[in-house]
């Protein structure tokens, strides 16, 4: 990433007014065909990024982030970064199954408990 890009990253998207600082900074323009959804700044998109990736945002909020990420070149690497990270976590999930012995033990103790009363 060039020094200039880093600068843009530093100074871009600091506006909190929901207007178009970020799109200026990214060198992209808002999608044509004027929509009701305002363009949110980079800062706002990254504040909601985890929730977005987790599928936890509601309709409008999700739409705002989605639209931003579609056009913002600056945010792209960041999104890839978080996605690769979350994939690494998910990949590691096959860690362990209850053994047959444990399964048997549990079922037996339940049966005993059931017989008790």
């Amino acid at each position: 990433m060039s020094f200039f890009e880093s600068l843009k990253r530093l100074f871009g998207g600091s506006g909190r007014d929901g207007r178009s600082d970020s799109t200026d900074a990214s060198g992209s323009s808002a999608p044509s065909g004027g929509t009701a959804v305002a363009m949110i700044p980079c800062e706002e998109a990254s504040a909601r990024l985890f929730e977005y990736l987790d599928g936890e945002l509601d309709g409008v909020s999700e739409e705002e982030v989605r639209r931003h990420l579609e056009v913002c070149k600056l945010c792209y690497p960041r999104v890839q970064f978080e996605k690769h990270f979350l994939e690494a976590l998910r990949r590691s999930r096959n860690g362990g199954r209850a053994s047959d012995a444990l399964r048997e033990q549990v079922l037996r103790s339940l049966a005993e408990d059931d017989a008790r009363d």
């Binding site: 990433m1 880093s6 800062e43 990254s46 504040a47 909601r48 990024l49 985890f50 929730e51 987790d54 936890e56 690497p77 960041r78 890839q80 970064f81 978080e82 996605k83 690769h84 990270f85 979350l86 994939e87 690494a88 976590l89 998910r90 990949r91 590691s92 999930r93 096959n94 860690g95 362990g96 199954r97 209850a98 053994s99 047959d100 444990l102 399964r103 048997e104 033990q105 549990v106 079922l107 037996r108 103790s109 339940l110 049966a111 408990d113 059931d114």
Partner: protein, 206 residues
């Protein structure tokens, strides 16, 4: 020696429909409960004990289980409680300081120090692809307990924020800050691994 018992052969609580549904609804989650227990305790033996205890308690309390809620979350809740109670009993509550738990989750999501650090050499975090499962497992194990729980429930067991809040008995906002904090801490750990393993260079010079 008896054959391994099949759920259908045992049918705990045969005498009523509720008992029968325990076999159908709760027993199939045993792998997930075991994995969760293993992540909590870090030891196979303890995890097996936890699973036993959890199922026994769940079975006895089955009448209190509200159908419609997710059975897996309910079992996780019990498992967590059993784990915490045991821990309290053994060591005198090692008071994990969660001074950051109330931090603004949005700020945690926004600030990504590892992303910033690796930006020059690996802006898209390709190094995460090279990291093997054992390293992830180990890194998760090193997280403070409450962060670990949130990460495991979300990223390994696919619970929603709302479900995690129920399991952990905390508000959704706190779930977010613990989960995001845990993730950031994991990223730091995995980044260190990646440097050690040479998956990425230190990027010291320019």
């Amino acid at each position: 020696m008896a054959d391994p018992l099949q759920p259908s052969q045992v049918e705990p609580g045969d005498r009523n429909a509720q008992g029968a549904s325990f076999s159908e609804e709760a027993i199939p989650h045993m792998d997930a409960v075991y994995r969760f227990a293993l992540r909590l305790s870090g030891s196979r033996d303890e995890a097996e004990d936890l699973v036993q205890d959890t199922y026994l308690r769940a079975f006895r309390a089955w009448e209190q289980y509200a159908p419609g809620t997710r059975c897996k979350s309910w079992l996780f809740t019990i498992c967590r409680n059993v784990f915490l109670r045991r821990r309290e009993r053994s060591q005198r509550h090692d008071a994990i300081l969660l001074e950051t738990a109330q931090d603004d989750p949005r700020a945690i999501s926004r600030e990504a120090p590892v992303f910033a650090a690796s930006r020059d050499d690996d802006p898209e975090g390709e190094f995460f692809r090279s990291i093997v499962d054992d390293q992830v497992f180990e890194a998760i194990e090193q997280l403070p307990e409450e962060y670990r729980m949130a990460v495991v429930l979300s990223d390994l067991e696919d619970l929603s924020y709302g479900e995690i809040a129920e399991v952990m008995g905390i508000p959704v906002g706190t779930v977010k800050s613990r989960l995001f904090r845990g993730r950031r801490q994991l990223q730091r750990q995995l980044y260190e691994y990646a440097l050690e393993m040479g998956y990425i260079s230190d990027g010291g010079e320019d």
